[in-house]
Amino acid sequence: MYHYENAIEIKNLCKNYDGFSLKNLNLTVPKGTIMGFVGQNGAGKTTTIKSILNIIRPEQGEIYLFGMHHQKQEIQIKNRIGVVFDELPFHDQLTPTQLNNVLAGIYSSWDSKCFFQYLERFSLPLKKKMATFSKGMKMKLQIAAALSHNAELLIMDEATSGLDPVVRSEMLDVFLEFMQDENHSILMSSHITSDLEKVADSITFVHNGTLLLSGYKDDILSAHGIVKCSKENAKKVAPEDIISMRCTDFGVEIMVNDRKNCQKKYSNFVMDSTTLDEILLFYVRGLSKKEWW
């Protein structure tokens, strides 16, 4: 087995479609961490995930999983990956018991006992066809399948979207349990940044196929802040400190990316901490200082 530091390593990934390009994406998911992969619809999250899984072929760039090239050692790699898609990729006519028989013939390290334990834990019926399952049940089934072949890396594409808060919370607990093993890692794309704030160690933002921001979640949250001031006072904020701005009923909110320094520099202004949601919004929807003035 290869010694590796990073579960996923992507270098200069490029992929072109009509009207969309993924441009020079670099991404690293260190072993033993959860990375939240955030972006709007069509930002390039699914394209990146499909490239990692070798479902689509990138035009340029290199992808390594567990230190191995994703195409050259594809089978070895895929035995160690669990994948959860946004929709159930299994046939509706199958029952969970039949699915167990099918997947046991696909994964060399399939663990039927573990699969049935998850089914019991998630209260999923064994003999019912998947067509009768709710969205939450389908997602639980996918997660049970992804975790039942001793995967070291879990790749999830919008796995928690469309689920109610109770089911989402249950799923997040399962992910945290999975992370108890220090060799396990997760790449989790999601719109729901509140989930990522709960579980992710690092965050990567993509927008229009380009990387906006990537780093440890705590670093990102502590570095960013929102300065709240009047329109007149906003002119006093140095352009190099500003990421973007937005107008509110009470004045102006300015997103800055060096909160500690800005707190000293603009000690007369109110400085609030921020959330991943707000950071994403400011990066994507906020106005630059040039546009504002």
Partner: protein, 249 residues
């Protein structure tokens, strides 16, 4: 690979059952009608009428059930590709430890196995039917059936890569034409409808040639199956390896 075979068996079970059900029903019907020729009201027919009608009955109630069986098996096998796409199972298989060769060989093996089952059923029932009733024009019938069955198999082989490339929905009509209608019209059209004298002459000479060269015919059929199957297998692997044409958004 066993997982994929099991999956297709679970999904295609209804096609198999429907095919076997229709086959048995057609066969039973054939037996009943043939018995009515011998013991029932139709026994009064004169020799030529009897012979013509019996030939028709033999064709309709022995070959057609098998054809239905073949077509349903064939459809069942190919429709598994369509359902794979419609539920995005193909994305799952591409993210699982399965190589393109395995994905391809499963589809070809399924089609071939189902075809062999249907073919053996036909040979078996043909022999029983023939020994019970004394099959009229048995040699011609069996050769026509074998040619049809081989055409259907070759059509099926060609349709597997097409189904991957065009994600099936555009190829339903082509599939039906290629796999079923064309050979049926070609062979049965000439025999049963007798629509053209010159065609019938060609058919008759061809028939005589076939009857006298049965072994050669089997060798040609075998090599055709191997060559067409292998070429389509390679094309299918190439399509699956490229992936973007089937998975790109």
């Amino acid at each position: 690979m066993t997982g994929l075979l099991k999956k297709d068996f679970y999904i295609g079970k209804k096609f198999l059952l429907l095919g076997i059900g229709l086959f048995l029903f057609g066969l039973l019907f054939g037996y009943l009608i043939r018995f009515s020729f011998i013991y029932g009201n139709l026994a009064h027919l004169d020799a030529s009428e009897f012979s013509d009608n019996v030939l028709m009955i033999d064709i309709v109630f022995t070959f057609v059930p098998v054809l239905v069986l073949l077509i349903l098996f064939f459809q069942g096998s190919l429709s598994s590709i369509y359902t794979d796409f419609s539920c995005k199972w193909h994305l799952y298989t591409f993210s699982a430890p399965l190589n393109p060769q395995t994905l391809t060989i499963v589809k070809f093996a399924e089609l071939l196995c189902l075809w062999i089952v249907a073919f053996m059923l036909e040979l078996g029932t043909g022999c029983i039917y023939g020994s019970v009733f004394g099959f009229s024009n048995a040699k011609t019938g069996m050769i026509a059936y074998c040619i049809l069955a081989v055409c259907i198999l070759l059509g099926g082989f060609c349709m597997i890569p097409m189904s991957y490339r065009y994600r099936t929905q555009n190829s339903v009509l082509t599939r039906l034409l290629l796999g079923f209608l064309l050979p049926v019209y070609l062979v049965f059209g000439v025999i049963v409808l007798n629509f053209s004298e010159s065609a019938t002459k060609i058919y008759n000479s061809l028939k005589l040639w076939c009857i006298s060269h049965k072994v050669l015919l089997c060798v040609i059929a075998f090599f055709l199956i191997v060559i067409v199957g292998f070429i389509n297998y390679l094309i299918c692997i190439r399509i699956i390896k490229r992936r973007d044409c089937i998975c790109g958004d």
